[in-house]
């Protein structure tokens, strides 16, 4: 039986592409509209295209927060945040004003402000990510690969040891983070061709041995 992957539908995501990519690699993927359904899945994915404030407000309004916290912290289910799903892990986001995030991984989300005038914001496109050794998600990918980014804001962690991948956009920015059973990527693996599909395969296979 392929593992059951639940993709949270909080009316923010590019849900279909994420679900399609998981289906493509043979996972049994379910789009979760009702928070209670999180109980049934083995792995949880929080995708996301959109603004920080709307994202957290929708998660709260739709009743996802207590269920996510219970499944991720008490039941230790593997969790993967993608793009906005990474940013929402922060304590605070500064997109269109100040907003409180999930606070699962201490840090803040700030607008990208590359000092080099020629670097445009949003950071859109394929950029090279250098991996920190030992992250299970990047097994089989060597030490660096190109991934597809689309974002105007970036995660600045309080504890730099949570960073598992970085890319350069005028300065070094966080491409991926990991804390226990919580992993997250700033780029879009579902849109990053073979390298991205490999990351999703690794997540499905398991974050730990």
């Amino acid at each position: 039986m392929p593992p059951l992957v639940g993709v949270i539908d909080y009316r923010m995501g590019n849900l279909k592409s994420v679900a399609n990519a998981f289906a493509h690699i043979g996972a049994d993927v379910r789009i979760i509209k009702d928070p209670e359904q999180l109980v049934d899945v083995e792995k949880i994915v929080l995708p996301g295209v959109g603004a920080f404030g709307d994202g957290i407000a929708n998660l709260r309004a739709l009743g996802f927060l207590p269920f996510m916290e219970r499944e991720v912290f008490q039941r230790s289910k593997p969790f993967m945040g993608i793009c906005l799903g990474l940013q929402l892990l922060a304590k605070t986001g500064w997109e269109h004003g100040r907003n409180k995030g999930l606070g699962w991984i201490p840090g803040v989300v700030r607008i990208l402000a590359p000092s080099d005038e020629r670097l445009r914001v949003p950071h859109i496109g394929w950029n090279e990510v250098v991996f920190r050794p030992g992250e299970r998600l990047f097994e089989g990918l060597g030490d660096r690969k190109d991934f597809y980014f689309v974002h105007s804001y970036h995660f600045v962690p309080e504890d730099p040891s949570v960073v598992t991948g970085e890319c350069n956009y005028g300065e070094s920015i966080v491409a991926s983070i990991r804390k226990d059973n919580i992993a997250a990527v700033q780029y879009h693996p579902e849109k990053s061709h073979k390298s991205g599909i490999k990351v999703l395969e690794n997540f499905v296979r398991g974050l730990t041995d």
Partner: protein, 262 residues
């Protein structure tokens, strides 16, 4: 380092894939649903689908003539998105926030807005606020008049707006657009290369990425667009009428010193 992107643009008209010339001659080249697989395997960086149908008409060349234009557009998007593991921009007759939301839910990553951006600028701002700036691509169609003056057109290149492209580009950036898809009406399908002066004028006054389109006739044209200031280069016809055009285009860009993902 960020790579420069190569983005084929696929045009849909009344449910069929077409090649376009000067925004007015449209030659049917196939059924989009059948061709999707091929495009998804191209070694390109993104795909842009633009529905240039003017009406929600039926196309009699199809068997399923009961399918209406709009429903057809969404069905094509669904077919495309489940096979496309690269970023997908979808545009054409987007008028409301609900139009945007529906297309994102069906797998579009970004939405291109053209006429509605001019007629209802608040759609750009609201769309950016709701889905993030990176999701809103404002498409700008530009006509260079015989006297050299450039003017923004809407309604599929039919309606002059009196606007200057560089000024409009700045305005849409301020409204919240994340990218600009800059197309030349008078170069469309001509194979003369991009309007490089237009690209320079627009990229000089904006900070958001500019995707250049319109006029590519040879692989060498792509690198010229990047060197004029574009962050990404797009074309339509060259990808339909040349073998291995995706890989050859990338190689030509690389050879010209442009950073691309190979």
């Amino acid at each position: 380092m960020l790579k420069n992107r190569l983005i084929p643009c696929l045009l849909l008209k009344n449910g069929l894939l077409v090649r376009s010339e000067l925004f007015s001659i449209h030659q049917v080249i196939g059924n989009p649903v059948h061709e999707v697989e091929r495009f998804s395997q191209w070694s390109v960086d993104e795909l842009i689908y633009l529905d240039i149908s003017e009406t929600e008409t039926y196309d009699l060349r199809r068997g399923d003539t009961k399918v209406k234009g709009t429903d057809d557009q969404l069905r094509i998007l669904e077919e495309v998105s489940c096979r496309c593991f690269m970023p997908l921009t979808f545009g054409g007759r987007i008028r409301t926030i609900d139009d945007i939301r529906e297309r994102i839910q069906k797998g579009a990553d970004k939405i291109a807005i053209n006429t509605a951006a001019v007629e209802t600028p608040s759609l750009v701002t609201e769309g950016a606020k709701m889905f993030g700036s990176q999701c809103i691509v404002v498409s700008i169609d530009v006509m260079r008049h015989p006297d050299g003056r450039c003017e923004v057109y809407t309604r599929g290149g039919k309606k002059p707006t009196g606007r200057n492209p560089a000024e409009w580009a700045r305005e849409v950036e301020n409204l919240g657009a994340g990218e600009i898809f800059l197309n030349s009406i008078d170069r469309d399908g001509t194979g003369q290369g991009y309007d490089l002066d237009l690209i320079r004028e627009v990229t000089d006054v904006t900070r958001i990425p500019i995707i250049a389109c319109g006029g590519v006739g040879q692989y060498g044209d792509f690198a010229k667009g990047i060197k004029a200031g574009a962050s990404a280069v797009s074309a339509a016809n060259i990808f339909h009428f040349k073998e291995l055009s995706d890989r050859n285009a990338k190689r030509a860009m690389q050879k010209a010193g442009v950073a691309v993902r190979i």
